[in-house]
Structures are given as C-alpha cells and as structure tokens.
Subunit: 351 residues, 4 copies
C-alpha cells in the first residue's frame, strides 16, 4: 500500500513532537517534511536527542517545501500564524495546493463565527473563507463530517475533556443548560515550551494555581459546541488550573439533572453513546490521569453529588494526545479511510 | 517567664511532626512528652533522623505519662481513639486532669450534633458530654470562644480552606445559600503516613484523581459551620482531589451573588473582615499553593465568573500548617494569651 | 502467521504491567494467560482500570494454567519463588513442559555460581541444575547464546545500564580493572509496588537518598559479567540512589584509561561496538533520562574527566523497559526469530 | 538592642528570597533596603505575592541607596557584577563606605588566585585588591577568620556539601589525595530563575541528567580549599547532576583510606571535628535530602565500600540554605558576634 506523505508544520513544539512519536509507528504514513523555520537546516535530533534513534527528515523553512509532493499537513503553528499559512497554501496561485488534507492543531479554525473569534482572540480573522469550510474535529461527535473534510480544526485540550461527556447529555436534554460548572486541571505541557518564568520548574513544582479565571479562551470553543448540541446558546463557568505534572487533564464538571431524570439516566446515556467507541470509556471507579497518560483514551465517570439533583462528572485525557496530537492522528485516519485507531492502540505507561 | 509544658499525643504522624517543627521555636513552650505507643522507648530521631539536631523527649506510651505535670495537650490521634483518650483523661478519677487545655487535631470533637457524627463516621460518639464543651477552633471566626475553652476541636484541612472565605459572605447574606460548589485539591500529606498502595510514590506521581465524590466526611463539618453562619441549613457540593505534591490545598469555590450585589461587595466584605488578621489575605493576583506552603497563611481571591451573577473564589493554605498543626498552635496561643502569631511568623520557603 | 501463545507469571507488578503494555502491540503474540495468585478470578482491569480498553484474559492461579498450550512464559515473580516455580514446570512429571521458552525477570538465574547466589541472596539456590542452563539475557552481548536458549535470565536494571558501556571497554582492555566506580540513580518504580513507608509519595517526593551503600545485590551480577568480559575477577564500587521520578536510571561511571589510551579510543570502541544496534547509541550531548523514558533505548556518553587518565561515562535507560520488560521482549524476539525490535520501536513520550 | 541595618543586593533571585525568609525572623536584623535594579519602584510582593504578609522596603536601584546608613550588605548579584559593585562601594570616594560588612554570595571572591579565577571564569578579575582581603566563608572551618573579616566570600552550594566532610579528613591525612571522586546531584533552584528551556518544568520533571562533566566551575573552589587542607595541590573528579526537586544537594564521595586507616578512623575524625557544631551531624543511617530541606543543616554518613580500602561518604544540604543564604546568615552572625544559629534553628518541613 502506498504510504501517505505527511508534513508537520511547527515540529519544534510539544504537539509536533507528540505527532512524530505517534506517526513513527503508523504503518501507512511517511513523514517526509518537518518544518521549523527558526531551526531550518538542523536535524531534529540535534535539538531533541531522544529522536536520535529514528530516521527523520532535516528541518526546513516552509518556503522550501514542495507541497505538491505532500498529501497531508499537520499544523502545529501558533494561532494567527496558522490561518495565514493555510490561506496561502490553499487559495493562492489558483489553489495550487488544494489537494492537501489539513489537520490544524491551532485554535484558528475552531470558532465558526468570526465575531466569536475576534472576541476571544482580539483581532480579525484573516481567513474567513477557509474557516467556513473547516470541520470541528471531535471524531466521536463529528466523524461523518470529518470523513469528507479537507480542513479539520483539531479541538483544544480542555474542550475535548469537557465536550465528550457533555454533548450527549445536552443532545438528550438530560441536564439543565444553565447549571454547567467546569473545574479543569492541566499538566504543564499544555503551556507549551515557551520561555516564561511561570513555566520554570521551581515555580510550577510543588504548587497548583488557578489562572485566567472566568476568561480562558477555550470557553468560546466549549460554548460553541455545547450550544450546537443544545440547540440554543449555552453559557458555562470554566476555571483552568496548572498542575505540576507533564501530561494530563482532569475536568470535574458539576451539572443539574433536568426534571424527572436520575443519575442512572446520565450514565446510561453516555454508556450507550460510547459503547462502540475504542477511545472513550465510562467507568465506575475514579478516573485518574495516570490511566490515560500518553494514550488517546478518555475515561469518564458520572456520580451523584451531595444534592438531590446534582451530578459530578469526572473526565480525564492526556492533553498532548487525545487533547491534541493523538486526536489529530485519529482525524487523519478518518480522513484517509484507515482504521480509526491505527497507530493509536497503545496502553498507558504505568506507572 | 515560665514555659507551658506541652505533650503531643501521636507524635509519629505528619501532623505531630509539624507540631514539633513549629513548637521547637516557640519561646514559651517546652515539649515535655511525646506519645507514640507503637514506638515507645525510641528517640524520635531514630524514626525521623531529621530531628537529630534537636533535643526532644523519648517516645512514651500514654499510660506512662504523668499528666499532672502537663499544661497543654495536642491530640494527633486517629479519630475514635481521640475521643476515648480524652474522655479518660478529663473525666475519669474525679476529673483528675481537668486542668489540661486540649487542642485536638482529630475529627472527633468537630461535629456538635451526635447524629451528624454518627452519619459521617458511622458509629456512636463515645464522649458526647465532652463534645458539648468543645469549641470549633477556627481562630479568625471563633477567637473569643477559643480563649475561654479547654477543649478546642481543630478544624479539618479542607474545611479551613473553605470556611475562611465563605463564613463572612454567608453572615452578610451576599451569596445565595443553595449555589455553593466547592472543588478542592490537596497534597498527599493529607492522606497521612498510612501504608496504602494508593499512596505509593509511583501511583500518585504524575497523576491527579477525584475521590470520595459527593460523600467526603469533611462535608459534615463544612455544612455545620456554614449553616451556623447562615442561620439555617446549608447544603454544599464538595469534591476533593489528590495532588502529586507534599503539602497544600487549593479550593476553587463557585457561588452566586445574592440579588443586588456585585463582585465588589464580596471583595469588600472579605477585605474588611480580614483587614486586621495576620494570617488571611485577599489578593488580586492568582493564589498559588507555593505562596503559602509551610506557613500558617491563607490567601484568597474573589473574581467574576463568566456568568453575570457568579463569583469564583480561590483559596490556598498549607494542609499540614494552617490546615492542621499551625492552626493548632494558633489556637494554643489564644488559649494561653500569647500573641496569636507567636512561632508562626515564617515566610514560605520559596521555591 | 501463527501467534506465539504467551503467559505472564506475576502480572500484578510493575514489570508485568509493562510487559502487557508492550505485548498488546506485538503482532506475533497472543497473551493467553495472566497469573496472579492473590487476585485470581478478577479481571486485571478491576485492579488496573487503565487496562479497561484492552481484551485481556482473567487472572488465574498458576495451578489452573495448562502450560501445554503455552509457548513462552515471562516470569515476573519475586526471587526464590521464581526458581521454585520454574523447577517445577520444567523438570517435574518427566519434563512435561520442557517445550516452554522462558524469560525470567527475577534475579534467580542471573548468577552462575551457586556460592555467589548464596552470598548475595543469603540462602541456597533451589534449582542449581536449571541455573546451569540459563543464559544471561543481555542481547547486545549474548545474542547468539540467547537465540539457542530456553531459559533466559533477564538482567537487572542497574546492571543493564552499567554493562552496556563497560563490557566492550573491558573486552578491549581500554580501562584499568581496579578503577571502576559506579554511581547509579533510579526512579522509584525500581522498588516495585510493595507497601513500605519508604516508598510513600510524601517520603520519596522532593528528596533523594543513597541506599544499600557498598552492598547492593546487583553488585554480584555486575561483577560476574564484567569479570567474564575482562577474563579475570573484577571488583567494583557501586552506590544506588532513589530518585523522585517514576521511571529511569542514570549511571555515572568513573574509570581510568589503560596506559596509552585516550578518550577517543573509548568512544571509538563503543561507537564501533554499537554501530549496528537499534537500541544503544553513543551521544556527544548529555544523556538524559527523559530521552529514553518509556522506551527500550540506552544512551551513553563518554567524556574526559578532570584528571588526565579519567573518563566519565554516563548511561541512561528506562528501568522498567530496557532494564526489565522491554529487554525481556527483545530476548523473546531473539528466541523466536522475530526482528529484534518488533513491538519495541517506540519513541519516548516527550515531555 | 540596636538592630543591624541590612541591605540585600539582588533581592529578585532565589538566594535573595531565601535571605528575606530567614532575616524576617532574625531578632537583631532590620532589612532596610532591597536592591533590584530592573524592578526598582515596585513592592517585592508585587513580584512575589507570598511576601504580602510581611513589611518590606520598596525595591530600589543601587544608585539610590544611601550606604552610609547601612551596616551590612548581602550580595546576591551575578558574578562579575558583584566584584564591580563592591569595588565601587568599598574603594571609591576615599573608601567612603569602608565601614560595611559584606557577605557576598556570588563566586567573585572565592578564588584566591587571580589566575584560577581567570581559568574558571574566563576573564580577568576586576577587583584583585579586594579579593585579597576576602575570607572563604565556611564557618565550621574558618570561623576565626570570618569573625574578623569585612568581606566574606560565601561558598558555593556544591563546595559546601563536599568540603565539610573532606577537609577534616585531608587535614588528618586519613585519605589518599589522588583518589577523590565526587558525584553530586542538585535541585533545580541551583540553576536560579533564569529563563532557559532547560529549566522549564516539562524538561526537568521526570528526568535527571549530568552536566558540565569534568569542567564545572565549582571544581576550582573545591580544589582550592582541599589543597589548603592537604598542604599541597589536590585534583578531584566532580560530576554535577540536575534533579527534579526544588531544593537540596546530595554528594556521594568516593575516597581511598590512607594506609593503616580503617573506616572507623574516618568516622571518628568527623565525629570529633563536628561534635560541637549545631549544623553538621554524622549519621549511621542514610542521609536524605528531605532531612535537611529548608534548613541550614548538613548530614554526613561514612560507610565502607565494596573494596577494602574504599569509603563512600554521603553528604546532604539544602543548596539555597546551608549552600547559600543560610550559610550567609551564619557568617553574618559570626561577623556581628551573635549566636551562630540565631534565626537558623528551624527543623525541616517534613514531609
């Protein structure tokens, strides 16, 4: 079988590295280009010696890539850079590279409404025409759209952990729309490799803090998808926290049952919805980041709260894998017709 | 000045060790007895070599202590054991040792209503008469009662982090009673030194989980004190999480404003309430466990949520210090008329 | 192609779990039996919910296994138990199960000389006849012997990190025999899942200590293999340390050059020796546990010391993978004629 | 009693913060100036909110300080900057500020020989005249010199952990001079707060690496002091490692006994030497970073190695406290005639 020729833009960051980790073992993929403008000319193993042992292409500038020889592109560029780059690639020169299938891991194509984009990212979107063609790449929810799409907006890490449990519940009107409170905690790799004092080992280690209280950008994305599931506008409360671990997100979600429903109804709904899914599981025990770290899995529990009408939903994922690069490969598999879990069937490293 | 002669019961555990750390530098205290039945006869530095450098009494069995020579007792026994022990000490033999001032760090004397105790701890209370005389030892709230008390029930760690911000708000009716959702995260020392697979390094490290969802025992204690502040029964939602750090609690609390109030009203209320307090501070920045680790401090922020009527309160303490032994010494200082921050004025070790 | 039917004895511990993680993706393996006497009857996912997502056999007692239907056995039993078990399996009932190929991860078959075994493990070996047939399973050194063996003694974790760099140097007489000093540091998973206060999160976290100074059992194994490489008895100095990380070993080794040799000679020797090896690499940069964590890789650097005739060798592996279960699968692959890196070609999870 | 007026230059870094933590509780000290050029005008609690609770002077530029009102200066400036600054202060304007007592925590005044300085720091020393007057501030070794000094060069962190055990042994000729191999491991706070990718949480966490193999700058300092103790030039082997913990150094030191000596002789030598010292203790158990973290203590063990004539010495300190700011306060106490452990009698926070 002919392998799909893949380019990774922004191979330098944690999501790029996670893509490389996964795709190295994808039997139908050949990584033919790695783009990292600031380190062009270097071998990636000069920067990341742990890749010594694998044959990988030399890092290049984007202008030195011949995209006519590429089948699929994973975008790991910062937001804004991503929309400019793909606009160029797909629409300039009479759509010269319109054959490309793109999975974009940035936030650039996730928000359907340009006003929403402007509200959360504080500038005008540069590629509104493209944005219209993008599909929100949550495979368990949008599989059929993804299959036919050429531009998949890979969901954010927090949203993935929140939407997987909430969308089926809202679609089935099992919970009240105005009651949703989401308390999320993420490992530090979610902050990327950027040089900030806040991300230094000694500042993060042995500590936890809340940040962006009431105004984190992922709120826009979560509310958009929940509103679609609900059929009308949903507002949420969302607080992210920084954890002293490398990988993993745990989201604790408080919801009220809709009238006449019980905890069993919520559990049954999710059990049914995810029954055939490889990557999502309902559990009676306590979801634990360790259970999913370094995998594309999502574990969810639904328990009765202290109050009669309240449920507490806990969901765990690996922010770099199911929350980013693993889900991107899952989308890739769907787009190219491979088994959805190709190259993604790994068990967590435990401990 | 004559020093207060102090005994610590249960010197073996983390709260006992934290008491020793603090009291070693208390100018008005002499640690005269350390009780640890299972290691009686040993020097504590044989078990905890880090105490090599300090002169401390040999560990003894409780029956070998002459309590007539003791002024104050810190109880660090497991619950149930604590109520039995103090019943013996204070009421047997015609109240022979009724001169003792006791600060009990167990849960045994915190719940005023024996039915509540039975509900949460699943057996009858053995010392109901004593329990009636106990004062809930949250100094910023109950200072005057503590001053006159001989038996102080030192609050739990989670409750301390929750009650400090919520009691003033409820007393002033600034928040709605039925809206309180508390998402707490604690360092692993909160689980003590007991040998459980769940507490092994490799199981805790690089992971986070929720536990006792909807039914943690501290709910009883929190609801009791909030109900008193409110004047009628308060029900809460409370989810504790286990963090891969040694010390520290961060509680993220979601509340709705009562009608006609704004975020400023909540902030002003707490600012005013804690203006003269050494250990509690309102902050505009993000409370961070690192800011209070190894101290008796509590930092609180109050921020607007995403929704119009919602506030997100974040509070951080050190679970072993302000959440246990530091607060116990604060109570001791009040009971004996010392400056409340004697031996407690340390800045956090940063980083 | 017919799959090899595999049983894992002692599936309950960290090395058993790591075997499961690897073998799940081994295209030529079917895990047909998991043995864990104390949890027989349970599904392994009841104990390790992270294995929820994979189809695995129910845990059984060893007496309930029909070994005539098994091709290969991985032994993850404690030492002593291992020798008794395999003696039974292989020699009782007229060698009924002598068709089995065994990879034993315990220390039981590593020491060739029964006196050495008795010295380090403080009791007589129970299966001296078997021990004689065992091959020390360090694939890069003993590949040809392993190929023909039915009983492979999988090396210890510390020894693997030490022997890979030192054996080629000693064989080529590039270093002086009496100068070897080994300072090793290991992640806490090396201590297994046993319930000891020393292994509790709060005791290990934010600390490092040396242990078994001058007398760790792995000394016997290291000296045996170095002596064989050298042609005469080698004595070493070896100090293990406990690190607050889950996985990984870093060994820093101090050696003197033999006369007339330089640092380049040592580097060239190892470069040549490992040139064709997939799992072992010489590097000019600083070997870092992160570079090899969760993989079967070993990274080695050789640098000039401060003194003229001294080299400092640094070697890193993952103690559970190349130091245990990964190497066991590598041995399995050799024994059954598969590509040596089958199911072992994963890149490290970074970060 | 009149308090000593203290200025801290470079209050912004970890050693400056640790000085503040300690001096806040020094009954004979008033912190009157905090110098941090780049943040002049701010309150330090704006940068470090954990200092909210303490009254501290506003940050200033050094040119805005009136040093005539200062008694003692703690220098926490980077090397090179330190020598220039103190040259200015002490020698310009007819020695206007020659009344100052200075404890310099940089490396600038530690190396007595300007050639050594140039060799290790790769530029000419700018204040050779001052350097001649500096005393190497290891109190247990140089107490009498420190007492009379106005310029104390506070030792490096690694050197402190190494010199305390080795100087008495060398002075008494109990070990062979050419056998010393030092394998040290340090917490990440030793790298300071500088923004380097290598110091990011995700890069340090769950990893350990060796660095500056064979050429770390502290070699110069260690060899200088060991040579003085020995009476002739000592060369050492020294390898530092980076640990994923905030604080602490563990140095494992390999030495050969001099002829006719035994392990007991080494133990007795150190026991005698440190018998009256508050901060240094010999132990039979395993020194553990946790035993000394956040304190000014040093714990040392001396054990027999595997080889007949070899001893393995393990020493632990807190790199920021006994390895920097705690030792600086100890020096300050000596210089001003206070009890040496004033403000330094704290037990470690355990766990």
């Amino acid at each position: 079988m002919k392998k799909i020729k893949v380019a990774i833009l922004g191979a330098y960051g944690y999501t790029g590295l996670e893509l490389i980790r996964i795709l190295i073992n994808h039997q139908f993929v050949e990584i033919v280009e790695l783009v990292a403008n600031s380190n062009a000319g270097q071998k990636i193993s000069q920067i990341f010696p742990h890749l010594n042992h694998f044959n990988l292409p030399v890092l290049k500038k984007i202008e030195d890539i011949d995209f006519s020889k590429i089948d699929a592109v994973f975008g790991c560029l910062p937001h804004t850079a991503s929309q400019a780059t793909f606009l160029d690639l797909l629409t300039k020169e009479n759509g010269k590279y319109s054959h490309l299938k793109i999975i974009d891991l940035s936030a650039d194509f996730r928000l359907e409404n340009p006003d929403d984009y402007k509200h959360w990212y504080e500038h005008d979107h540069l590629a509104i025409s493209l944005q219209k063609t993008a599909v929100y790449g949550l495979p368990e929810i949008n599989r059929n759209l993804i299959k036919k799409s050429s531009l998949v907006a890979n969901p954010g890490c927090y949203p993935t952990s929140v939407l997987l449990p909430l969308i089926p519940l809202l679609r089935n009107q099992l919970i009240t729309v105005d009651s949703i409170i989401i308390d999320s905690k993420s490992g530090t790799s979610g902050a990327g490799r950027s040089l900030k004092t806040n991300n230094l080992f000694c500042e993060v280690n042995e500590s936890v803090k809340a940040y962006s209280v009431g105004k984190h950008r992922h709120i826009g994305e979560i509310e958009q998808e929940l509103s679609k599931a609900n059929g009308s506008k949903v507002l949420i409360e969302f607080t992210p926290h920084l954890l002293p671990i490398n990988r993993g997100i745990i989201s604790t979600i408080y919801v009220n049952f809709a009238k006449n429903y019980q905890i069993d109804d919520l559990q049954n709904c999710l059990n049914t919805f995810y029954d055939d899914e490889f990557f999502v599981t309902l559990t009676d025990s306590e979801p634990n980041i360790k259970n999913v770290a370094s995998t594309n899995l999502c574990e969810i529990s639904v328990k009765r709260g202290r109050k009669n009408n309240q449920a507490i939903i806990v969901s765990v994922i690996d922010n770099l894998c199911k929350g980013a690069s693993g889900q991107a490969v899952q989308n890739f598999n769907i787009m190219f017709g491979f088994d959805e879990n190709t190259a993604l069937k790994f068990a967590p490293t435990f401990p």
